[in-house]
Amino acid sequence: MCLAVPGKVVSLQDDGTGQVDYMGTTVLANFSLLPGVKVGDWVIVHAGFAISRLDRAEARRTLRLFQELEKLNSAD
């Protein structure tokens, strides 16, 4: 039940809701738990509510870590 799906915010409405695009499927989400959301942000939505904004810099940092592991292993 704690499944939550990442998607991209494509529109915002005045009532605190907006549309989120999940790889081509657009669904209404409530942004009341995530103040300051902007169009273009990546968010995680659970039970119709966005609960977290994804941090692109942190995502890149993790991906770089995967690349370092590759180097570590090829040094074996």
């Binding site: 039940m1 704690c2 499944l3 939550a4 990442p6 991209k8 790889m23 081509g24 409530n30 009341s32 738990l33 995530l34 103040p35 990546w42 995680i44 659970h46 039970a47 119709g48 509510f49 609960i51 977290s52 994804l54 941090d55 692109r56 942190e58 995502a59 890149r60 940092r61 993790t62 991906l63 870590l65 995967f66 592991l69 590759e70 570590l72 292993n73 074996d76």
Partner: protein
């Protein structure tokens, strides 16, 4: 279809074969140095799902890590008497719309399930995707009583708290909440305190952590000296969490690591936490399998009692006659029993005829084992 961009936009980087192989190799390098197999509990059912669906469980075993499923399935840990109280209500009273999340309707109890029960005239059981939908129904049906039977952990609780607050603010008089809301840290402490389960560390639930942050687990490292890592839900996310735990074991330095930093902040989601504190208060809740745990459940605060379904309908939320099916879901939830070791598994109990909630929920360890693993006893 336009081409999709890489990294954040697609998830392929977190699922790529070479990355998975590298992570597994790094894990086995650590376990070889530790020189014994490790047992790590994945608290969250969605992690159990990732481990099975991507075939990681046997690969991890080869790498020296045995994964043990924990209590992280709200459908599974909600005692039967909640369902039975709802069944009694909709079968004895007219014009009740009982709403809940999909999995909840299939849990078998001594009085049948919400799905199989036949409600009184004008009453019905409706599946909703979001608590907000239940509130909308209340607005559309002023002639009926709409009850939301909400089960969930910290991930789901803010959405439910928000809906309760909105219901109070809009002055709708026909909306109530039956709260089956559970908190993860007290349950982990109960597991550790019981001393029944032999584990070397935890993979903490990523989306619970989005709300509660990193500090909520610090007692595990400080008081129980046990490693742990918050992890996301892609295969590489889970392996990264496991790598962190095995490194902590090897170094003898337990901590609460955050390996899901793109989604989880150290402080959690402060707005969501404030909303929970405004609407709800902790109490000693009863969990299936784990029993009563101090401060492990949340219920509406006294000033919001008008929204409390148990009070409005005088629901009896007490253990009744239990279903004697031989279901051992309680032991599965504590990590004491593997689904395949339950005598009912894949014999009298399967997803079409579940004997207990662990075979019902999409996060239930038994359903996941049945669906994704060959399971020696599965026929």
């Amino acid at each position: 279809m336009p081409p999709r961009k890489s990294s954040l936009e697609t998830l392929s980087d977190w699922r790529s074969g070479p990355t998975i192989r590298n992570l597994l190799r790094a894990i086995s390098r650590e376990t070889e140095a530790i020189n014994r197999p490790l047992r790590i509990m994945e608290v969250c059912g969605t992690h159990t799902m990732t481990l099975h669906r991507s075939g990681l469980k046997p690969l991890l075993k080869e790498a020296g890590v045995v994964m043990v499923s924990g209590p992280g399935c709200p459908v599974c840990i909600t005692p039967d008497y909640y369902h039975e109280a709802v069944i009694d209500l909709v079968t004895s009273q007219k014009n009740i719309i009982a709403t809940t999340f999909g999995d909840m309707t299939r849990v078998p109890t001594g009085r049948g399930s919400l799905q199989t029960t036949v409600p009184s005239p004008g009453s019905e059981i409706k599946i909703v995707y979001s608590p907000d939908e239940a509130l909308e129904l209340a607005g559309q049906h002023p002639e009926k009583e709409v009850m939301f039977f909400g089960a969930g952990f910290e991930t789901t609780i803010p959405a439910i708290a928000f809906t309760a607050k909105k219901a109070a603010a809009t002055g709708l008089k026909n909306f109530t909440l039956l709260a089956a809301l559970w908190l993860i840290p007290p349950a982990l402490e109960a597991i550790l305190r019981s001393g029944e389960v032999d584990i070397d560390g935890f993979i903490y639930p990523g989306h619970v952590s989005v709300i509660i942050g990193q500090q909520a687990y610090s007692f595990v490292a400080e008081k129980y000296r046990l490693p742990g890592a918050i992890a996301g839900f892609e295969p590489a996310d889970v392996l990264l969490g496991i790598l962190s735990v095995v490194r902590q074991v090897r170094a003898g330095r337990p901590e609460v690591a955050n390996e899901y930093r793109r989604a989880v902040r150290a402080e959690g989601n402060p707005g969501a936490l404030a909303l929970m504190a405004e609407m709800l208060e902790p109490y000693e809740a009863e969990w299936r399998g784990l029993g009563r745990i101090k401060n492990s459940g949340l219920r509406l605060k006294s000033e919001w009692q008008k929204l409390e379904a148990a009070r409005r309908f005088n629901l009896r939320l007490q253990p009744g006659k239990s279903l004697k099916s031989g279901c051992r879901c309680g032991e599965v939830l504590k990590g004491l029993l593997e689904p395949v070791d339950c005598p009912l598994f894949a014999r009298h109990c399967n997803p079409d005829h579940p004997q207990g909630p662990c075979m019902v929920s999409y996060e239930g360890a038994c359903l996941i084992e049945y669906k994704y693993s060959s399971g020696e006893k599965k026929k």
